[in-house]
């Protein structure tokens, strides 16, 4: 069996409409992209792809609606897998055919096509705010998503600042003020008198002397043991059992216990791009 182009395949598999002037499958979705960047669906219009060349794309519509020049038109076509795929043209020319249908000639261009041309729109970390941003306006991507032109894809789940959604760094720190300037207390328990005190209380010119009972030259293991005490914060002087994971926002400098971080799902947008050149005779 000779190999067929996707367009031939699509044409072969689609039921051919009687009123279709084209060998290509009908357009399944037609949208007008006006200059004010608002996309609007053109309801109840039947259309076809008439011709595709390396420069021009010609479409035909069974309608009397005007497509003003320099407006943009986004159209969709059902692919074999049932998914509707999209392309955008910048309208160069608009005329009525002899059969009373509307013909639109344009070339592949526009913001939506720019978006469609990338396989995935993933958020990147803004170096200024340390928040996740998109190269294109997120509102537009969301709008396209709502229209089914791109679809949302889960990429990752990250912890972000509860204050500004910026990216934090994490460190062990004080439970009370979040400071990383903490130390673990070392204490000595003198068995004989039961006294427990900080090592510094026992140290006296290189000797270990109990500050309570004044016994001198204590021997570790036999006379005393070392005990790890609490952690102490140099900044707020509070003590606590264990340092906590503390988040510090790179964006707004806010400090917070790690468990208070917001869990943020990093979502990307995957365009449903129609490979329009596949319909050109040259391909």
């Amino acid at each position: 069996m000779p190999r067929r182009t996707p367009a031939e395949e699509q044409a072969a598999s689609s039921p051919v409409r009687r009123d279709s002037p084209s060998t290509f499958p009908p357009l399944s979705d037609i949208l007008v992209f006006q200059k004010d960047e608002v996309l609007a669906r053109v309801a109840k219009v039947r259309g076809w792809l008439v011709e595709v060349s390396s420069r021009d794309i010609e479409l035909e519509f069974q309608t009397s609606v005007r497509f003003p020049e320099d407006d943009h038109l986004v159209f969709g076509m059902d692919a074999l897998n049932g998914e509707t795929q999209y392309a955008e043209i910048n309208i160069d020319n608009f005329y009525r055919s002899s059969s009373g249908k509307v013909r639109v000639v344009g070339h592949s261009a526009g913001v939506v096509q720019d978006i469609l041309n990338q396989p995935l729109h993933a958020p990147y970390l803004c170096p200024k705010t340390h928040t996740f941003r998109f190269a294109h306006p997120e509102s537009l991507l969301r709008q396209l998503c709502g229209l089914g032109i791109v679809e949302e894809a889960f990429l990752d789940r990250v912890e972000v600042c509860p204050n500004c959604s910026g990216l934090p760094t994490f460190r062990p720190g004080c439970q009370h003020c979040g400071s990383p300037r903490t130390t673990l207390d070392r204490l000595i328990h003198h068995f004989a008198c039961g006294y427990v005190g900080f090592v510094s209380e026992f140290e006296d010119a290189g000797r270990i002397i109990c500050p309570k009972c004044r016994t001198k030259d204590l021997v570790v293991g036999a006379d005393f043991e070392y005990i790890d005490g609490a952690h102490r914060c140099f900044d707020c002087a509070q003590h606590f059992e264990k340092p906590e994971r503390i988040g510090h926002c790179l964006g707004c400098d806010f400090r917070f216990p790690a468990q208070q971080a917001d869990l943020h799902d990093l979502m990307g947008f995957r365009p449903k791009r129609l490979d329009i050149l596949a319909f050109s005779p040259a391909s």
Binding site: A192, G194, V196, D223, D228, H239
Partner: protein, 433 residues
């Protein structure tokens, strides 16, 4: 019925035929000592309170919150392998007092006491949980905790004890007086109804602790703020260098504070509920520890409280020692010499003598129960506890046995240093008073 009547008639006949001096000689020794000591003294105290308008006693429930003394409090819970009980204890304490911090010290437990306490601390603010690498005894735990609090008052609670809801409020009130260094509280049995042994102890605590310490306070001779529940002024405790090695460290520090010039008082309505031993051997071991401590501290380590030529001598401290020496040693041996006399040359009518002694003890004890109930804030509970009354004289005999053994072995052999209440490496290192 006939035999009962006969016995009763026989006894009354025997009693009436008895010469008064014979009665004194045979039982007077016992009755004259234990009677006044335990029963008459308390009855006199009650009469005094009633006449001076001191009765009923005031408690924090009679006070507006803003009128109460409200120092900052640090509760220290020190325990070894108490994973099963520590959470309930924390629950009974947390949130019952406004200026409260809690420090839990795990004394090198082998169970997950530490984790249980930590989990509790995660959901409840103001709790610090610390862990020692190996068991070092209760004193070292409390001393460890002292390093981590700035609170004015340190309250020590056993990890298996529960506090009544207003217990912390009650126990801190006497500390409004800067002269007071230690406050003793009422310890009651939590497992009263488990069996006769626990019930008898519950009944005993009511008299020896609740009313007994009330009386001791009037005489100025409170000698212990129990390890189960006691409050201490932190500044005073630090002046004496914290707790010394136990067993009996609770009594020891109370006496050391007294020697420093502080007073030890009693808060009768600061109630703590603790599990008492449930078998005779366990009870015997506990009493042995307590009695040995009495000898170790009041006959040896702190005998200088009686030295009137010392600059810090106080008459109340001498009285405290005299009370112990006379009642816990002289009378104890006196009692057993009496018994020995009976055993060597039993009176012809030994049974009647024993029965008369029993009835006399019982009557004195009824008087004690009446006094306890007069001061009680929970009449129903305390009356129910007193139901075991008929068995009390027998139980007192058990206590006298335990006391004879433990006092003797401690007086002559210093056995308290064999007690594994304190781990071996600490017992070995400390001074054997």
């Amino acid at each position: 019925m006939i035999s009962w009547d006969f016995a009763l008639n026989g006894w009354t006949f025997w009693l009436s035929a008895l010469h008064r001096d014979e009665l004194w000689w045979t039982m007077g020794g016992l009755l004259l000592v234990d009677g006044p000591r335990y029963a008459l003294s308390k009855a006199v105290m009650f009469l005094w309170d009633a006449l001076t308008g001191n009765w009923p006693l005031k408690s924090v429930q009679d006070q507006e919150i803003e009128d109460r003394y409200e120092p900052s409090v640090c509760v220290v819970l020190a325990g070894y392998n108490e994973a099963e009980t520590v959470e309930a204890t924390l629950t009974s304490i947390w949130g019952t007092y406004p200026r409260l911090e809690i420090i839990v010290i795990d004394d090198g437990s082998e169970d997950d006491m530490h984790c249980v306490a930590q989990n509790f601390a995660q959901d409840h603010a103001g709790i610090l949980v610390l862990r020692k690498p190996q068991r070092g005894g209760k004193s070292s735990c409390i001393n460890f905790a002292l390093k981590y609090t700035e609170a004015e008052i340190v309250v020590v609670v056993d990890t298996d004890s529960h506090l009544a809801p207003d217990a912390l409020w009650e126990i801190v009130q006497p500390l409004a007086d800067p002269q007071v260094g230690a406050v003793s509280a009422t310890v009651l049995a939590r497992n009263t109804t488990t069996n006769l042994i626990t019930w008898l102890q519950a009944e005993e605590y009511l008299h020896s602790i609740f009313v007994g310490r009330m009386l001791a306070e009037r005489l100025g001779i409170v000698s212990v703020a129990s390890g189960a529940f006691g409050a201490f002024r932190r500044e005073a405790v630090q002046r004496v260098g914290g707790w010394d090695v136990g067993p009996g460290e609770d009594g020891d520090i109370t006496l050391r504070l007294r020697k420093m010039g502080y007073d030890a008082v009693f808060a009768p309505y600061a109630e703590c509920f603790t599990n008492v031993p449930e078998s005779w051997p366990a009870l015997f071991r506990q009493r042995r520890r307590w009695n040995r401590g009495t000898i170790r501290y009041k006959c040896r380590k702190h005998v200088d409280m009686a030295f009137f030529w010392y600059p810090n001598f106080r008459f109340s401290n001498l009285l405290l020692l005299l009370n112990v020496w006379f009642f816990n040693i002289v009378c104890l041996y006196g009692f057993w010499i009496y018994v020995l006399g009976w055993l060597i040359a039993p009176p012809d009518d030994l049974f009647f003598f024993l029965w008369t002694t029993y009835v006399a003890y019982l009557m004195f004890h009824v008087l004690q129960v009446a006094v306890a109930l007069a001061y009680s804030r929970n009449l129903r509970r305390d009356a129910a506890t007193s139901v075991v009354l008929p068995f009390v004289p027998i139980y007192q005999l058990f206590r006298k046995c335990a006391r004879l053994i433990s006092v003797t072995e401690e007086l002559f052999f210093r056995r308290s240093f064999d007690d594994n209440y304190v781990p071996w490496h600490v017992r070995e290192a400390t001074w054997h008073w």
